[in-house]
Symmetry: C2
Subunit: 373 residues, 2 copies
Amino acid sequence: MDYMNFLTPYLAIDSNALMRNIHRMQEFSRRVDVNVRPHVKTHKCPKIAKLQVEAGAIGVTCAKLGEAEVMVRRGIHDILIANQVVDRSKLVRIAELAKVADMKISVDNPTNVQAISEAARYMSSSIGIIIEVDIGMGRCGIRSKEDAVSLVRLIKSLPGLRFAGLLGYEGHIVLVEPRSVRLENCTQANLKLVEVAEHLEKNGYKTGIVSGGGTGTYDMTGQYEGITEIEAGSYVFMDSCYAKLGLPFEQSLFLVSTVVSAPEQGVCVADCGLKTATSEFGYPEPAFLLTTRGGEKPALTQLSEEDIQVKILSEEHAILRISNPELGISVGDKILMIPSHICTTVNLYNEYHVFNSGSFVEKWTIEARGASY
Amino acid sequence: MDYMNFLTPYLAIDSNALMRNIHRMQEFSRRVDVNVRPHVKTHKCPKIAKLQVEAGAIGVTCAKLGEAEVMVRRGIHDILIANQVVDRSKLVRIAELAKVADMKISVDNPTNVQAISEAARYMSSSIGIIIEVDIGMGRCGIRSKEDAVSLVRLIKSLPGLRFAGLLGYEGHIVLVEPRSVRLENCTQANLKLVEVAEHLEKNGYKTGIVSGGGTGTYDMTGQYEGITEIEAGSYVFMDSCYAKLGLPFEQSLFLVSTVVSAPEQGVCVADCGLKTATSEFGYPEPAFLLTTRGGEKPALTQLSEEDIQVKILSEEHAILRISNPELGISVGDKILMIPSHICTTVNLYNEYHVFNSGSFVEKWTIEARGASY
């Protein structure tokens, strides 16, 4: 088991599970005839973005200019930044990317639209404008159909801009259970987005892209009449929050840690903490044990919540309560954990260690880590 | 105001406040005759570590091998790793550092002591061993005086090792209020640590170092008879949690963000979120506003909780509620925020932007970011 061989804590990708997740999303895309433009904020890795595009994704969704710069540099040329960007120097950088890539950026504000036009004119390029619609999160996004019409008019009146469509995100719904309630809420959210598209059509404006859908709602939003593309991202790796929803995706990423202390009966301490695992959606869940005892060939032992649980994370420590003493956990053992929230966990690392059936294959750089600007 | 000129979100250091914090800690150190070995897990930056050593710190405390490697590479040569390290390949790296630096490492387990001796022998170097004592956190550390004696015997019996002292950390106490209760709890914790030192003396073993103390207890632990050095780290920057304790240190680090959306009355959205600010001790607190309105020369306006509060952080967004409409906050304005927990916030960035009275001076690389192994 090559999992033993690297400096912990590190992120291990199960490459077979990763590829199955990517292909399952694309099979869905073909079956219901909706495009997939995966969000790269989850993995921040051009290598994985390319695997997604090779499998059929039409391009990528980015959260930030910094991510887009990394993706374009690595040859991804159809980019939607699902976020507002307002700084003049950032807009000039986007206009520069637009010379070699199809750049689309979200807006919800007329002053911002004007600034984007100025940057595009300054760099002699053309930027696609996507209007963000608030579909229930109360975050960014226009709040009315009328605002969409006046923004489109402004976009059409200014040089350097193309009106490219609409974007919504039902982030307040993606983890709602049971599925029937999630579907009901999701339908309401999609209705708001598609109503804006229809209102624009009535006013003579065609919306090319109508983008929505997270990993918890990809199939609901993906099949909703009028939605043209899905921006889900977490499905490539999954996490313990999404695991609870019974989606057709597998856990393909694990946090590998070492037991560094076993100070008393029923307690051990692993070398991962808040600097290597997020806690905003809960603590990571121990999934497999790799033990070094007695010179045996190490093998993965599956762990359950009845065996062992993380009780607390401090900066560099996970304190675990061991409920099953038969595990015989001792200093030096490895524990593979499932992060509670994959996106903010990946953001803490510089690289992935990629494994195929437990054998180490190669490292992939998380090139857009830290590119949060 | 040069704060306007950089891609947000970024970390801004007020260099004057930083230097005042460093000097205040060293003045305390001289006054009560205790050494200061600041924890570099807070800033992860050799540049700042050197400022601390130049001001009188005797060396640095590191959480991880990765941090120690960065510090030694940059010329810091007295290092205490306040953590257990068990992997064979990590121990060899520490033994390698020990050829050029005075390396000390914490232990709480005899198997680990043996492994460290093997690594030191293999590399023909000598490693200082510090016994970690649990003084109330229930995390790592030996649980009894007797364990200390048997560990010291083992350390003395093995080649490549020097018994260097004891370490405790009253992390469960550093934020306790009021001060009188904190002092009481801290005294109990220090008593446990110093009792172990006295027990070792009785058995004929001299403890060189007796290390403890966080930023919330540095003066209590620093004046406790028998404690030889303080390992506090956060005092260089401070944060909103430590601000509540009324310590003689100033906020010297701010998270600078841009308002990217003002979608409805009383709400705005800034471009920092869980990937650029931690939430485990609460949300960041808006401290200053820099506005771009009307071509005025931008100036810092102080903000209070009555003016504006962060209501929620998502991955890349801070949704803020504006209670004071007179601020006239609009898209493009900058907000300087105080992180709730400085250590896990710094860990998200690659560099600091350093300012002197609002003028940009230079960038300092957070060289040990990601060195969590």
